[in-house]
Symmetry: C2
DNA sequence: TTGAACTTCCAAATAATATTGAAAGATTTC
DNA sequence: GAAATCTTTCAATATTATTTGGAAGTTCAA
């Protein structure tokens, strides 16, 4: 496969993949583009290569910086800002995991913790409390596992273990 | 908190949570409703309780059955079908994981496997191939971990280990 | 075979989300 | 300090996803 075609496929696929996971298509595409660019790109570069507007490019670049997936680069003698993606896939996975854990999982755990204390003793209430309890238990465990496995001081271990278990 | 309020909060939250994860709001809400219903519900029940149309209720019930999260129940002497959610949260998590793995992760692994063989030796091509390779490696590993941890014959072990590690 | 009771399908309507582009805001240079 | 260059904002617009509701399909009992 030729580079041009492969690049395009990758960007499209990453965009589609992202939108299945609640990340908007453009944000995922900008990320894909930066992931495979050996050099940092300017806003203009991103606009051109993906055919998107300035506003869109800007908004998504900022969002990626917010997620710690992209760094702003200042080149000496250049007025413009450049953008470069984190290239270490373990770090990428860690950052995405931690961000989503914080934004989505933690609030859910908190809510379930409250809900499992609902008052009442009817058949219906009991079923509800049981489910809230079980889900709270499950989500807390998942939260704990993710917390441990994304702590930077255990990354080296996971990487190693994963290789050994191959 | 009263049951009515708690139920409502749960359904809304599960719906919002779902839509952040690429599952449409109604499907997640129907699932939430069934999760906390001690008895199996009919299509009419779902329509009424969630204020959604027949078509919508039907479509999402079918989708949930497809995902193995809901079972069709036939009551003797009743013409209608009833629907009941799987209540074991470990099974729920397993079914969701396997389904998404199959639908989303596996195709991505396959694509990356192809892309990492792109031809060329330029600076740009090398960066591309490197990233495709690394991502392929990462996603395959994740796939392997999920495959093992959702095999029904190791569920008992995970459940036990998770309790010990609490 | 008919009709009642359901389920499913699908085109049109609606709602939610993402994108554009022009204008305003910053920052740097001369 | 004002022109040039770049970034950010946001209301309008476009796109995409979801939902509706009526029509067609299915199943079953009599």
């Amino acid at each position: 496969m030729e580079l041009h075609e492969a690049k395009d496929k990758f960007i499209q696929a990453w965009g589609a993949f992202g939108s299945q996971w609640g990340i908007n298509r453009s944000m995922a595409q900008v990320h894909a583009l930066l992931l495979i660019s050996p050099e940092a790109l300017s806003t203009e570069d991103v606009m051109e290569q993906l055919n998107i507007s300035r506003g869109n490019a800007n908004m998504n670049l900022r969002a990626l910086i917010d997620w710690n997936l992209v760094d702003r680069i200042l080149k000496t003698g250049e007025r413009r800002e450049f953008f470069q993606a984190e290239k270490d896939v373990w770090k990428i996975a860690t950052h995405i995991t931690r961000e989503r854990k914080k934004r989505e999982l933690e609030p859910m755990v908190r809510l379930l913790g409250e809900l499992k204390q609902t008052s009442g003793t009817t058949h219906e209430t009991k079923a509800f409390k049981q489910m809230a309890h079980d889900l709270h238990d499950l989500t807390s465990r998942i939260d704990a596992v993710l917390e441990r496995s994304t702590r930077s001081d255990v990354q080296w271990f996971l990487k190693a273990a994963s290789t050994l278990l191959r």
